[in-house]
């Protein structure tokens, strides 16, 4: 841990506070009991998913407009981490659903659109994996990311448009929860967004180094060709 990455130091206390609020400080749910506590990370991870895929969309559009590969790296890093967090949302949702609804999985609109989102972005990551040329990969994945993002607003609105059994927490009337639960929810959100930011930094650095290495390889290859005549 170098001094220049000082901004990640508060992560540990923030995460500890979030865990404390989730597991000990917040009250049990009136009906669901302690199983409600999984909600805080579930909601936080869902927020991260929304933020991550939105960053992917914005970076993809920015790439199409500016043609700077740094935007493509932002899109790639954000989509990767977003997919991991979508998996987190799905797993925590499955566990909670078992406790609250008595089934692991049900083909509810919200659950279905979320799992579709996960599959589409998994396809996006495969497309990235299987393309060789950096410019082409950036272009194609930007196009696919824009197509894939269509599902995000649908996923968000699924519980509001159709009669889903998935609970809606934040409504136009405010937040339907006890005050302590609201505090725990927002702290969890902040902690997980912090986690997302750190992972973004890690991935962006690695992707930058990868691109630089490819550049060096190309230049070495050319230099050798020149030597050979």
């Amino acid at each position: 841990m170098t001094k220049r990455d000082w901004w990640m130091w508060p992560f540990l206390p923030v995460m500890w506070i979030a865990c404390y609020l989730n597991f000990l400080w917040s009250p049990d749910d009136a009906q669901l009991g302690p199983s409600q506590r999984i909600f805080y990370f579930h909601m936080g991870a869902a927020t991260v998913v929304l933020v991550a895929y939105t960053i992917t969309l914005v970076s993809s559009i920015a790439y199409l407009v500016t043609r700077r590969l740094s935007w493509d790296r932002w899109a790639a890093a954000s989509a990767e981490i977003g997919t991991v967090f979508t998996a987190m949302v799905l797993v925590s949702g499955i566990l909670w659903g078992r406790a609250a609804w008595g089934v692991w999985w049900t083909w509810d609109p919200r659950l279905t659109t979320t799992v579709i989102l996960w599959v589409i972005f998994a396809g996006y990551l495969l497309l990235r994996e299987w393309s060789d040329n950096p410019e082409r990969r950036a272009l194609y994945s930007a196009v696919v990311a824009i197509l894939a993002y269509v599902d995000v607003p649908i996923d968000y609105m699924a519980v509001r448009w159709w009669n889903s059994i998935h609970p809606v927490v934040i409504t136009s009337q405010g937040i339907a929860m006890a005050p302590r639960m609201i505090v725990a929810m927002f702290v969890s959100m902040a902690a997980l967004l912090y986690l997302f930011a750190i992972w973004m930094a890690i991935r962006l650095r690695l992707l930058r180094a990868e691109a630089g290495l490819a550049d060096i390889k190309n230049r070495l290859f050319l230099a050798m060709q020149e030597l050979e005549g």
Partner: protein
Amino acid sequence: MTMSAVERMYLLFLFLAYAALMVVMFGFMGRMLRKGRDLEREVERLQAELGERAAPKAPPAVTPTVPGREVGHS
């Protein structure tokens, strides 16, 4: 639904387990950040060493496609 004292204790254990997990994750992330920074510095150094010769215009065989607006594909 109320919890027994034992169940309360389980919650405490859960909290401790997660707190410990976060320590591990924090260490891992710090390590990755540092390594990423080192790697970037190395790459920059290599690029600077190579950069003394002006970056040659790549022939199509090495980089089959060129950025920017162009008709066609390869």
